[in-house]
């Protein structure tokens, strides 16, 4: 290996997360605006099963909530309830999407879907699970929707002394229910649901929670456990988000033109954020956190099926699949993180790599303008294709980072580029780029800057300067093992040796 700094090179994105300055996890561009996991509360009970979760407040009436609480206590984890859980995971997004289309209100639609779920919990244990559980849930929810619309109509007449039809009835009409819910528009509805859950009118935290809830079928406690935040916080985020969507009268649509691109990019950002949260998980070893990666990948694949002509969607899928292919190689036997170039490539998941490379090919076949996800996927693919670390195509990676840097100017990307340039064209070329970043305020406390610089200097034989930089990096890192490693290399420099690993 040319110099050890290179082993810090992660693809821009997930790989950086563990190493970012405090409170900045998930912050791919160094701005800190993705600090969704700030208040860490490890006291979240791990025992709350998915069914228990259905008792969480969701703005429904007290009676309904009470009913769910009864259920949640009475019925944990019998085979039928596990089946209902599974059916819910498979059907809930389509169910809710169809219902939003009818009632034009995300909160009401989710309540209706939950009502259908409660009915299933009441009836299936004795009646057995129906042959087509999805259709069963849908028909119950539709009946409740009609009731709700009629109730609302009566109320409205009473209150306003007006006989005018509700917009929802004008728009779709009760008679059109079947067509609307069962028709070929299911895919469109699902896409609309993704777009509305990730609407820019919502905070990033709310978009993440709502996406997992509405599209992923996750419960409030599951989301809370996955993000290590208190359950009431998640519940509140979801309630507020649904209220915001209603108050701002956000339309249930897939916008066209420029707005479509911006809105799609918000969906991609949310999915990648969910993925990163799972990928960077260092705490909470129960299944929920790794499952976040799987859920983000699943939703990405769903989105790719819904929008097959969008290269960035395939790019994100490719990026996630390739990064996930390294999940089992990125942690050592005693739980320590293993950096990309030190990973055992034999432990990389070849199936996910193949899937990722295929998704990247689809993205590149669509258009020539490469977006941020396609570029990151292309970088990840360079690593995935190299059988050994030494075979890595560094000139290509350096070039891809240059493109990425132009598209998404960021000091962190630039630092990555410096490492790649150093690997491709020698440490002096890399050092030149690193030195240009020295005055960058956002990297002031970022230990990888002096760490990379120290390694480049050491490779050039400037050991005194290298030692100073590495010592500075050691003082900045929050990871004990990394600090030990850095201090050992400081010692090497002091003894006049080029530090090796």
């Amino acid at each position: 290996m040319l110099f050890s700094a290179s082993s810090y090179l992660y693809p821009y994105g997930a790989g950086w997360l563990d190493a970012l300055p405090s409170g900045r996890r998930g912050d791919g561009d160094g701005t800190g605006r993705w600090a969704i996991c700030a208040p860490v509360d490890r006291s979240v009970p791990a025992g709350a099963g998915p069914i228990g979760a259905w008792s969480a407040p969701r703005g429904a009436s007290a009676v309904r909530t009470g009913a769910r609480q009864c259920f949640s206590r009475a019925v944990t984890a019998t085979p039928t309830h596990r089946t209902i859980d599974a059916v819910w995971r498979i059907e809930s997004a389509r169910l809710i999407a169809g219902l939003v289309r009818l009632v034009r209100d995300v909160g009401l639609a989710e309540d209706l879907a939950q009502d259908a779920l409660v009915a299933a919990l009441e009836q299936w244990p004795s009646s057995g699970v129906p042959d087509n559980p999805g259709a069963w849930l849908m028909s119950v929810a539709k009946r409740r929707a009609i009731d709700a619309i009629r109730r609302e109509k009566v109320l409205e007449r009473k209150h306003e002394q007006l006989g005018r039809e509700l917009e929802i009835e004008r728009g779709t009409g009760v008679a059109d229910f079947d067509a609307a819910v069962d028709g070929a528009e299911v895919g469109d509805d699902l896409l609309r649901l993704m777009f509305i859950a990730c609407h820019p009118v919502l905070s990033t935290e709310a978009r993440v929670a709502l996406t997992l809830r509405l599209l992923g079928g996750l419960t409030t406690p599951e989301i809370a456990r996955a993000f290590l935040i208190p359950e009431p916080t998640v519940a509140q985020r979801i309630v507020r988000a649904k209220r915001t969507l209603a108050d701002k009268r956000v339309p249930f649509e897939v916008p066209g033109g420029d707005e479509r691109a911006a809105r799609l990019s918000s969906v991609l950002e949310v999915l990648y954020l969910i993925f990163n949260e799972g990928y960077s998980a260092t705490a909470g070893d129960d299944w929920v956190r790794p499952a976040l990666c799987e859920e983000a990948m699943r939703l990405g694949r769903v989105l790719a099926e819904l929008t097959p002509r969008e290269p960035e969607v395939h790019g994100l899928v490719a990026l996630m699949e390739i990064q996930a292919s390294r999940l089992r190689a990125r942690v050592g036997p005693s739980g320590e993180p293993v950096l990309l170039l030190d990973q055992d490539r034999g432990a990389w998941d070849q199936l996910l790599i193949r899937r990722g490379l295929a998704a990247l090919e689809r993205a590149e076949a669509i258009g020539d303008a490469r977006g941020r996800y396609v570029l990151q996927a292309a970088i990840a693919a360079c690593h995935a294709r190299a059988r050994t670390a030494e075979q890595t195509d560094w000139p290509r990676i350096a070039e891809l980072y240059r493109e990425l840097s132009e598209l998404v100017p960021s000091p962190v990307v630039e630092l990555n580029r410096a490492v790649a340039v150093g690997m491709a064209y020698g440490p002096a070329a890399g050092l030149e780029l690193v030195d240009a970043l020295a005055a960058e305020p956002s990297l002031k406390e970022y230990h990888l800057l002096p760490s990379v610089r120290g390694d480049l200097l050491a490779s050039l034989g400037r050991l005194d300067e290298a030692g100073t930089e590495l010592a500075r990096a050691a003082s900045l890192t929050r990871n004990n093992r990394e600090r030990e490693l850095l201090l050992r290399r400081v010692e090497d420099c002091a003894r006049g040796r080029v530090p090796t690993r």
């Binding site: 299944w287 990948m297 694949r301 055992d344 034999g346």
Partner: protein, 140 residues
Amino acid sequence: MRFMVILKANEESEAGVLPDEGTLAAMGRYNEELVKAGVMLAGEGLQSSAKGARVQFADTGITVIDGPFTEAKELIAGFWLIQVGSKEEAIEWVKRCPLGGGAEVEIRQVFEADDFGANLTPELRDAEERLRARVSERQQ
């Protein structure tokens, strides 16, 4: 978590009879549904055991037996690899598979590295990973 969904062979599949157009179309729609839901990672149909072989290991040596093999129910005709949240979810997906009477499907969870726990010592893990490295080198 991943599951391998194994479709058992029957006399027809073993006789090399190809599924009719209707069956193929229904299976195509089912697979499409799996893909649209983002759960299908891979899947293949297998040719009859007449085109396969068995390799038997004994203390005295290795014996190779060419197909076909007789006990159709114990043979497999195809598989899916799916990624879902639970075994129940895998079952729910399998229940939607358009198969006729007499068909049987087996659902098996795929090991993840961590499932081996303490039995997979660091040394064994290293050995396994070296092996995987060699395999993947040859594949590429």
